[in-house]
Amino acid sequence: MIITINSIGVWGSGLNGWDATQAILRGEQPRVDDTRKLPPPSLLPPNERRRASQVIRLALLCAQEACQNGPYEASELPALFASSNGDGFIINRILDALASPMGAVSPSMFHNSVHNAPAGYWMIAHHCQQPAVSLGFHNETVAAALLKAATEASSEETPLLFCAYDAPIPGSLGTVRRTDHPFGCAFVLTPGAHAGPQLSLSLRTDITETDPTTQLPITLQDMARYNPAGRLLPLLHAIAHHENHTLHLPYGQHTLTVELTHA
């Protein structure tokens, strides 16, 4: 099954957009950790802008960059949002509140806690009535989401917005779930082979796992290993170098093999 990447958006700690990220992937610049807060997305109405958490901002910045550089209006695109941890900041806050004697759950925090909150905000921002699905599958989130995006794009014969994002979880939950640095990546995808980076996806059972992160610049390796969305960095590395590349993503008892070519 083949899909074409029309455009890319990337944000994360020290990664400010796809152009700047390409320079880092090519080794022209180091990635420098950036602990500043992400800006509120200008595309949201004032109420939603105020309520958008850092994780929601991360997902929306990626999606927005991909759509700005892609051939379709954001309001035309069905969307797939994928994250292992979801909004760990909010989940931890709610869990803390529930564990304290007088703790009350804040209403806006509760509705932001749903895994599909970024999808909801994105659709509100663009007055978009297209379907959106929100997925999570622990460390194999990217494999599940790429396969799902490809099957949806081809079954429904539609271009699609794909957005994978993850961020560290603070507090107690963070002690049992290591995630290194916020990172997100969005693609506008079109089914079939067209001009641009093409991905051919297959499920295989005969692959011995190798560590694909060793070829990455050193400042990106932890992000690629310990951020579930960072599993896309080896693919982005090959795209930035305009190289063909085969990436094997562990996926249950299978491997999702992603063969990148350029046309």
Binding site: R51, I91, L98, A99, Q129, L173
Partner: protein, 401 residues
Amino acid sequence: MNDLIITAGTAVSAMGRGVDATCQTLQSTHTTLQPDNFQPNGRGSIGRVAGIEDHTFPDTLALYDCRNNRLADQALTSDGFLDAVAEARAHYGAHRIGIVMGTSTSGILSAEEAYAARPAGELTLPETFHYSTTQDLASLPHFVAARLGLTGPSLTVSNACASSTRAFIDAAHLITSGFCDAVIVGGADSLCRMTLQGFASLELIDPTVTRPCDATRDGISIGEAAGFALLERAGARPLPTTIAGYRLRLLGYGASSDGHHMSAPDPTGAGATLAMTKALKRAQLRPDDIGYINMHGTGSRANDAMEDKAMTALFGPHTPCSSTKGWSGHTLGASGILETMVCAIVLNQHFLPPCMNSTDIDPTFHSDMLLTHRHAAPQIVMNNAFGFGGTNSSLIVGTMA
């Protein structure tokens, strides 16, 4: 649509375990909700499944033991579902059967208990808490895969209260694109303080008991449920003569977004109408072909008004409809798979269940909402689910004949 059928299905909720018990409840006028005894100072009512605390969980899968997976295990071991999957596995091979689960909160109750067990002032969680096999979204499909001996591609859909409805669409994509021959579709959402208190903070919990579509309705009652369906292509293999639970034809599906508000539905119902319209289009059916609609019908002021508007716009005033959440409570992400079983019961048993607990339909509504049981033999019915984030999904199912 690509001739997809459900060849086996089951679910567990406060209405009962499996098809027969649920059918008996739906034919009755007995309430199955109870005052919130799940948390101290609980208010309103809940749809609590009996026997979860005592359920014998498989020893070999002890790491997955949590309320959500116990609920799932109760469903998996109902209606002969395990055997039905084993037969499909023997035919297709374990690696050709995928798993698509819908859940909104997975096993977060385990995290709530772990947080409460921390020594004062410390971050460390007890060693008995296993994040990845309980709270994480992948917990449910991993548990189901292990329990059913399946190795096909898996994923979890978390689209709030539309999760397990939307899961059918994602499962259909995996089958029509050839990556799976069959998919276990379903989901589970179990009682936890996060949703009980979260919905209370939004003032969406009815202080007495949920009364969908009633003039005096005042919110939801939260319930818990798990359910599963075996989805595959029609004609791909000879089907067993014994039906495990229920069988249905999946005739159409439609999904949309409101693009309106995070926790309030678009009052015009435009997004909901769009999801229903897409489902009809895919099924190549007209509104008149739908004999009954199992509403999302949460009992909240805003949802039921919006849904009435959306249904009326598309179907006019004559299509019978009801919400069964007066029996089950709002089972959140599991409501889609639970109400798929309700649709199967309606199709097979020739009766339409009413809006339990409700006595006077909101006079501003125009749809044919049921307050009493009605004898009818629809061949094709619709099931709606809408959720936070403005996510909408509709399914159309029909009898196998």
